[in-house]
Subunit: 380 residues, 2 copies
């Protein structure tokens, strides 16, 4: 018997009550019993996104909504700036290229956040740029990018819209769509929304809507204007992922009950404890200057094999974390603290990491990390 | 207390054991525990499709795979014939149009099957037609189209491939992909696969693959060549719908255990009983000549309001069936007998329909339908 603990930045653990809600007999999406579920999801998502716009629910993973954020708002040949500071930033460029747009890459060193002034300068230098695509939280590097500051820049330009991949940001930290003037927000179900993967979400501003009306990129399954028309009638264009929507209703109710600010505060506290604990055990943070509260990337000490640490975490302790991707492969482990996560998930993660490091041959005294986490997490 | 019975042609009921399998704690799709699940799904799908080709699993509903069947194989400006004998046939044309192809419509009267000779004549008349898109089972009319005969026609033409929407055909009746030479088959999770909606499947022949290699339509989320490369390594390009895949492994095992021929035979028996019962109660079949074994469309008698019958079925008896769409609205009810369905689902459907017809003011003696169904379903 070994309990498995999932502490990767998505899929994240699903609350048992939600798992059971989704295990109820399936209902039909064109019948009256679907309406209140869908309608509560619509309301809950508006609250979560902090928007008065309709939030579209797609039967797809987050990448589907990322594609929709390109194909429904840009046109062939359109220039769009994208912040490439990791695997997910890079994806914006790939999608634009696939659909015949002209991506303008803004490369940011892995582990660093984008400098809003560089975005402003790029927009000033090329007035033909139509949009800025970025991540609020770059999951591959554990960096939070300065969305509010970038939104202030794009907000002043009527011809430029801002697209934010908030897949590991929504429900993690403050990102009020309407208040900050974010034009398009994309998120997925398997992160702070505490659901299995299979649902993606997207909302857009009135400014972005004018671009939608002139966009000429072909689309069918991800036709957002059609979906919005259907959503307003508590329907979807294509068969929705009914069981996941039943779960969505459930987790959105949980978030509303706890209150978004409290959810953010809880996540922040867990993030701060994790970061402090990682430093207390003598490790460096991969994103020291602008860390995302969704996850913490700890740099594996010189001479220790990061892939081995990740393997030992799983094999010796049943703890699943994420490793590094591409240039960070074998160099970092990423510990998640978003969604259905609390004090003892962090304590477990830190203690498992300390033990696995020693197992991997790292010379250290165990306990400093856990003690630091306890110091922050104790409710006095 | 009223038990609800779902007898619509999708979503269909999910076996309780599968619901509970999907309620297990979520696992991570990039970790070793995912591999055997995915690998068993791959094998089970090949058996289900009766193909040696890879069957791709998409996090999307069936319409997503229909889109993929257009965007991955046709090119802009390509002519393709599509059989429009109902709502789903019509959809092929819409997708082609959205992506700049030239759909050639072959209209078929609702309730009728396409005549293969007409397809052959159309292909002879216009050698620039690249493909034939059709339904194996047109869910809106309860018609089965003659796939085998059409495949024999396209099979003789190296420049023409055949695409079959088998969303309510796979796991319902015989449709051996390789043996019949069907080039592309598309299906979804919420029909005979007995799962919630949210997964779509597509496989293609070597002939179709040559078209994939030259297809110029932009695609990203539904990039089948990329997905196939990933699938072979037991992976997916984007985050898969993990919990639904756990359910998929489960239902595919059930189907293999029962045996595909027995699944087809069971469904056929239920379909025959339903059709005979509908006729025994004095109703006509909407698709008398080439009915699909997935579902039966019963024509509501003159003077009776079909919408009211459907409503009474739900309100008085807790039975959910499908009504008619578009030109068939209010004129038919559609009773499903695919997937997780057995004798007493049919008995319930027929008895509910008899009672609801009387409730709606139809002058008839109840019991003839049920008696006929029992005659066929009794195991002597």
């Amino acid at each position: 018997m070994k309990k498995n603990i999932l502490l990767a930045p998505g899929p994240t653990p699903v609350p048992p009550s939600t798992l059971l809600a989704m295990a109820q007999p399936i209902i039909h999406h064109r019948e009256p019993e679907f309406k209140p579920i869908f309608s509560q999801c619509r309301e809950g998502l508006k609250y979560l996104f902090q928007t008065e716009q309709e939030v579209i629910m797609l039967a797809a993973s987050g990448s589907g909504a990322m594609e929709a954020a390109v194909t429904n708002f840009l046109s062939t040949g359109d220039k769009a700036l994208f912040v490439n500071g990791g695997k997910f930033g890079e994806r914006w460029g790939k999608i634009m290229k696939a659909y015949g747009c002209e991506p303008v890459e803004l490369k940011v060193e892995w582990g660093q956040a984008v400098d809003p002034a560089v975005i402003e300068a790029a927009l000033d230098a090329d007035p033909s740029i139509r949009a800025v695509y970025m991540q609020a939280s770059e999951t591959s590097t554990a960096v939070a990018h300065p969305v509010k500051e970038v939104a202030a820049i794009t907000g002043k330009r009527p011809g430029v819209f801002l697209v934010v991949d908030a897949i590991t940001a929504t429900g993690v930290f403050k990102l009020p769509m309407d208040e900050w003037g974010i034009d398009i927000i994309v998120t997925g179900s398997q992160k702070a929304l505490m659901l299995p993967p299979g649902l993606a979400f997207i909302a857009w501003s009135e400014k972005a809507d004018t671009f939608n009306k002139t966009s000429n990129i072909p689309r069918f399954y991800f036709d957002l204007a059609l979906e919005r028309k259907k959503h307003i009638d508590d329907q979807t264009a294509w068969t929705p992922a009914v069981s996941l929507l039943v779960g969505l209703r459930d987790v959105l109710n949980m978030i509303r009950e706890e209150g978004l600010e409290k959810v953010h505060a809880r996540t922040t506290r867990l993030a701060e404890a994790t970061r402090a604990a990682v430093k207390a055990m003598g490790l460096k943070l991969f994103a020291p200057d602008s860390p995302s509260n969704a996850l913490t990337a700890a740099v594996i000490p010189e001479g220790v094999d990061g892939l081995k640490v990740k393997k030992l975490l799983r094999e010796n302790y049943g703890v699943t974390v994420a490793g590094g991707q591409d240039q960070a492969k074998g160099k970092i482990v990423r510990l998640a603290h978003l969604g259905y996560t609390d004090t003892f998930d962090v304590i477990s993660a830190i203690s498992a990491l300390e033990m696995a490091l020693v197992d991997a041959g790292h010379d250290m005294v165990m306990g400093a990390g856990v003690a630091k986490a306890m110091e922050i997490l104790r409710r006095g």
